[in-house]
């Protein structure tokens, strides 16, 4: 059954709603039988004509009977209803989870994909595809997109496809010295390629702060230019990291790790470390967007998968990423466990 549902979601997602509608109608009829078309429409908050179309179908399928007193489910309909309940439960699994997480995390929208990035790295591909789809939905002509680094974001860039013209991709924040293919600059370039747009780079060494940063900004027009572009981005797409993992990559690792641990940092995003309660406890020196400074930008889309990242996701969404969260089933279920308590 699960296999069939997964296949259904994959190959004909537009018909998920049809099955849901018919299930709801059938259930409502069973609940209130004998009931009329109009009463049904009111109870289900659907148009009378829509209800009618579905109800005519159910009648033709022999699942309900029409009498002058109203409609009632047949014996066969009863049987189908029970089987359908199981199907819809599976079908609904994710959307229920999505709604629950959206509410509990205070995020506008949550998208859950199948799998668990920790258990099966291949599911990152699907996560990336889903995030790319969300991005496509928000993208318009001449927009600017700011992207962070990370392996997850690399998959998003890979899966992106053109949905608008003349987009500009910029790194969301100054560089973090890791594998080049996971750096924000690289990801911006790859994504620009996939989207058929332009990209700008942010050549900023790691760990530059204070006066040094001021000097750099004063002398580098390009840097100022890109920084300005970033702050006006229409869409920000960022990954979420585990605090300890991200900290371990930095030059000042030992000292930083201890400090973060002492302060209870759980997640990292856009150069800032935050506790599970949403308190920001450390900010790396750089330019560009910070997690606590997303006021000037448009939509913010966070992407992260794998159950190990659950706490980090909770932390980052609590601290500021308020629009869309794209995650996977493994992380989603772990998040639910966390926020339950």
């Amino acid at each position: 059954m699960e296999k069939a549902v997964a296949l259904h979601r994959r190959i004909a997602p537009e018909l998920v709603g049809v099955i849901e509608d018919r299930f709801n109608i059938l259930r409502q009829i069973q609940f209130a039988q004998p009931v009329g078309r109009r009463a049904l429409a009111v109870a289900l908050d659907m148009g009378e004509r829509v209800v009618r179309a579905q109800v005519d179908f159910l009648k033709a399928a022999g699942l309900i009977d029409f009498t002058p007193l109203g409609m009632s489910v047949t014996e066969e309909g009863q049987g189908v209803l029970e089987e359908l309940a199981g199907y819809v439960r599976v079908l609904h699994g994710f959307s229920a989870l999505e709604e629950e997480l959206a509410e509990r995390l205070g995020v506008r929208r949550v998208v859950v994909t199948r799998g668990d990035a920790d258990a099966d790295p291949a599911s990152l591909r699907e996560l990336g595809r889903a995030a790319a789809g969300v991005l496509g939905g928000y993208l318009g002509d001449n927009m600017t997109v700011a992207v962070s680094g990370g392996s997850t974001m690399a998959w998003v860039a890979e899966a992106a496809s053109a949905a608008a013209r003349d987009v500009t991709i910029v790194p969301a924040r100054g560089g973090l010295g890791e594998k080049v293919e996971y750096q924000a600059n690289t990801i911006a370039a790859v994504m620009a390629g996939k989207l058929g747009g332009r990209y700008r780079m942010l050549h900023l060494p790691d760990g530059v702060g204070g006066e040094a940063l001021d000097v750099l900004l004063a002398h580098d027009a390009n840097l100022r230019d890109v920084d300005e572009l970033i702050r006006k981005a229409d869409v920000v797409l960022h990954g979420i990291g585990l605090a300890e993992v991200m900290a371990a990559r930095r030059v000042i690792a030992p000292a930083l790790i201890n400090e973060l641990k002492a302060r209870g940092a759980a997640g990292e995003a856009l150069g800032q470390y935050t506790t599970i309660g949403g308190e920001i406890v450390y900010t790396t020196d750089s330019i560009g967007l910070r997690l606590d400074d997303l006021g000037g930008v448009g939509r913010v889309i966070a992407v992260a998968g794998g159950r190990r990242k659950a706490a980090a996701i909770v932390a980052v969404t609590a601290a500021g990423s308020r629009d869309v969260l794209v995650t996977d089933e493994g992380a989603a279920r772990a998040i639910r466990e966390i926020i339950k308590s």
Copy 2:
């Protein structure tokens, strides 16, 4: 998977159509990749725009890739394709069976329902519903429908629902003295009630033939009237009986049974017994339609289920019932075994 497929067929038949289309397109792409939209449309015998809509969907779902050389299936698409193949195989089970039987039996159309009437009498209900649906498809205003007797036909009558106005239901042939609820007269009346039409009766005692029949016809205007109506029927709906079972019900049973056995009678319909080769070996005395005399009427729909009836179905379709056969899975598979040899 089987359960889900059955559920889909029941609750969202349009879903299976969509899935089939997308499966066919995906398979065709895999077969001919890289291939263009137009070439696909020709190969699949579909409109270019239709192919395009589906292909756009498959692209958005990440199952195929577009390149200037044409479309090709992605790795993910490959996986989905394999799962889909399993789904469609289950789905197609019946329609493949239907087509095979239609061809081998020389019948225009075969409809197979789930179950086996012998193993599970409840499946007769579904058989009846399917037959009623077929009937509804052929029915028009002011038409005349001739129906035979039998328990199967009783279910058909029960499941009938109005699809046209001013229909007249008549018994297809003079009475056979059995349970009143299975007599053609009764069934005509029930069906007329369900269809909101009129019915005519054929009050003819069993086993009346020769001179006695002539005398009756000469004196009974109603009889002549109904007989004429029957011969111009637009749709004939009849059951199929096992030769030995039907013969056993008759008054002259012992002698008749032996004779039929000697002549190799397998099936009975409309008062005539026929061998599996289609040769009619005995005709009961009565008026109305005979199996070998369906020239003047419109569509002929035969309804019978249960694997024990397989040979009888083969016999009757061979003898003359040439339009539609509605049967169940049990009978259908048994028929396939018979006609294979």
